[in-house]
């Protein structure tokens, strides 16, 4: 390759080391383009919402559909209690993290398919990672798509520091979609009002935290946090998605208000 065909950055990358801070710093000269700046990424919890069945899911989907004219939505699904079952059996059988990741993918895919059938009459498709190239078209035409929340790492899922449960699960996979597309918002729909100082299902003294930064949250060193640790980790490095909101999807109106940019749950910022 002739060097005169290379830009300055091209020459730096082709000839330099990709582990060199000076080379890496040069790759951040231009801001990152927001690819889908009008889309909202909405994650619907597995254990918290979908496992509750129609009582929780039907009202939430009605509200979601009512918002489609005003808000484009990329809808990711959690896994839930069947993933916990699969992880439990898998751990006992000695499955590596990469295989557990595949098992989690299957459960979040089941949930995505079920939501997809419920939303099918509105023309909303379910897309797998290989179909993400069609996502902009579906958003433009139908205002929404459903995808499974697990990142498609399968056998390549990195090990966690402790234990064997995949560290990048559906919160993280959905978050990374919001970051890579430069989405307008990242909303986690769960069954609690947001973040508490402890698991409010187990600890009656847990207190609600309406707004917090990632640094403040890490300083608290809580035993249990409402979103996966890697989401917080990645938020610190994010170019676009530096604020997420966790809302209670069991309370009607919360999703609408969150889509409208209102503060109805816990907002975590980097």
């Amino acid at each position: 390759m002739q060097d005169q065909l290379l830009t300055q950055l091209g020459s730096l990358l082709v000839n330099g080391s990709l582990t060199d801070d000076a080379v890496l710093a040069a790759t951040d000269e231009h801001p990152v383009l927001p690819i889908l700046p009008n889309a909202n990424v909405v994650k619907i919890g597995g254990q918290s919402l979908i496992d509750r069945g129609r009582a929780a899911v039907f009202p939430l989907l009605d509200e979601l559909v009512a918002n489609l004219p005003d808000h484009q939505m990329i809808i990711g699904t959690g896994a839930g209690t069947r993933a916990r079952h699969a992880y439990s059996v898998g751990l006992d059988l000695g499955m590596p993290t990469g295989v557990l990741s595949i098992l989690g993918t299957f459960v979040s895919m089941q949930n995505a398919r079920m939501l997809h059938y419920l939303l099918a009459k509105h023309g909303i498709p379910f897309i797998e990672p290989v179909q993400f190239a069609q996502l902009p078209f579906y958003l433009e035409e139908r205002r929404g798509v459903v995808f499974f929340g697990m990142p498609p790492y399968i056998y390549w899922q990195p090990n966690p520091a402790v234990g064997r449960i995949p560290p990048n699960r559906t919160d993280t996979g959905v978050y990374l979609v919001s970051e890579v597309f430069g989405a307008r918002s990242m909303i986690y729909v769960k069954d609690e009002d947001g973040l508490y100082t402890a698991d409010p299902k187990k600890d009656a003294n847990a207190t609600f935290i309406p707004r917090i930064t990632v640094d403040e949250l890490e300083a608290l060193n809580l035993e249990d946090v409402v979103v996966e640790h890697n989401v917080l980790e990645f938020m610190k490095n994010a170019r676009h998605s530096r604020s997420i909101q966790i809302i209670n999807g069991l309370k009607p109106g919360n999703l609408t208000r969150a889509l409208n940019g209102e503060h109805v749950g816990t907002i975590i910022t980097a």
């Binding site: 830009t7 950055l9 916990r84 990672p129 993400f132 399968i154 234990g163 610190k236």
Partner: protein
């Protein structure tokens, strides 16, 4: 561990399938510690060899043919899973993509094509030995079958992170490239060894191509390497975090593919380059 599938009464207003992790938050630190259990090795007799893009394949026949011969000889006695890097073309597409304002996930997606191209070239050269490049869509699931049927397989070393690549602390180059991808595959499948084939003898305290007086480091632990905070490394920096979380593959060796006789020695467990260890015990 109870895997009984009776539905659990909903004491917390949620519906559970009975399991150890039922009703537990997978974000709870104590719950996570309870999941530290022994793990099986799927392919304990296979060796993962990552062949550098820029360091070997981009050099054309001069650097690649002798290594192909060494790989061919090693295939007679070792099952090989060979990953390839993207090399110069990945770096070029990074530079154009960054100039166009594209995010790290898009760059990671684009880079897979370059490593795959290199996998196909290496596959063409190793075809006489019965080794070909396998498309990434089927590679992982069918790997145990392929290695039973053939002396080895080739894949694009990049992990399938693609759009889901993690945002980097500094810059916009995907952090999980082919060294990380080859390692992650070996760790999941519990392979015997991981060898990264480059165009230097191993790790130095500075880039030996720029500084002839650079000191060679023949082995080092991840913690010591982090502490030394070297200006450049001959492999993906993400590898350090990955090795520090190893359960099965607790060391990686970097060897010089320009001295191809070292390959088979590395596969036999000899120390012929730089060994990066998870800790002093590994």
């Amino acid at each position: 561990m109870n895997a009984n599938s009776n539905p659990e009464p909903s004491t917390d207003q949620r519906h559970h399938v009975r399991s150890l992790l039922m009703r537990e938050s997978l974000l709870d630190k104590q719950v996570m510690s309870s999941t530290e259990t022994p793990v099986v090795r799927m392919l304990p007799d296979c060796h993962v060899v990552k062949v550098g893009g820029r360091s070997i394949l981009d050099g054309g026949r001069e650097t690649t043919y002798p290594l192909v011969e060494a790989l061919g000889a090693a295939l007679a006695t070792h099952k090989l899973i060979i990953g390839t890097g993207g090399g110069v073309r990945s770096r070029h597409v990074f530079s154009i993509g960054i100039d166009l304002g594209l995010p790290v996930g898009v760059l990671a997606q684009l880079a897979i094509a370059d490593a795959l191209g290199n996998a196909h070239m290496l596959g063409t050269l190793l075809a006489p030995y019965g080794v070909v490049a396998i498309p990434p869509e089927i590679f992982g699931h069918l790997l145990p079958l392929f290695v039973q049927a053939a002396p080895g397989v080739i894949f694009n070393g990049d992990p399938p992170f693609s759009l889901w690549e993690h945002p980097a602390g500094m810059g916009r180059i995907p952090t999980h490239r082919s060294d990380a991808g080859a390692y992650l595959l070996a760790e999941c499948f519990g392979c015997a060894t991981v060898t990264l084939v480059k165009d230097v003898d191993g790790l130095y305290d500075r880039d030996p191509k720029q500084f002839p007086d650079a000191q060679f480091i023949d082995e080092i632990t991840v913690d010591d390497l982090r502490e030394r905070n070297l200006p450049t490394l001959p492999f993906d920096r993400a590898l350090l975090d990955l090795i520090s979380h190893a359960r099965l593959v607790t060391r990686v060796q970097i060897i010089n593919g320009l001295a191809p006789d070292r390959l088979e020695r590395a596969l036999r467990g000899e120390h012929v380059g730089t060994i990066i260890r998870k800790d002093a015990a590994s």
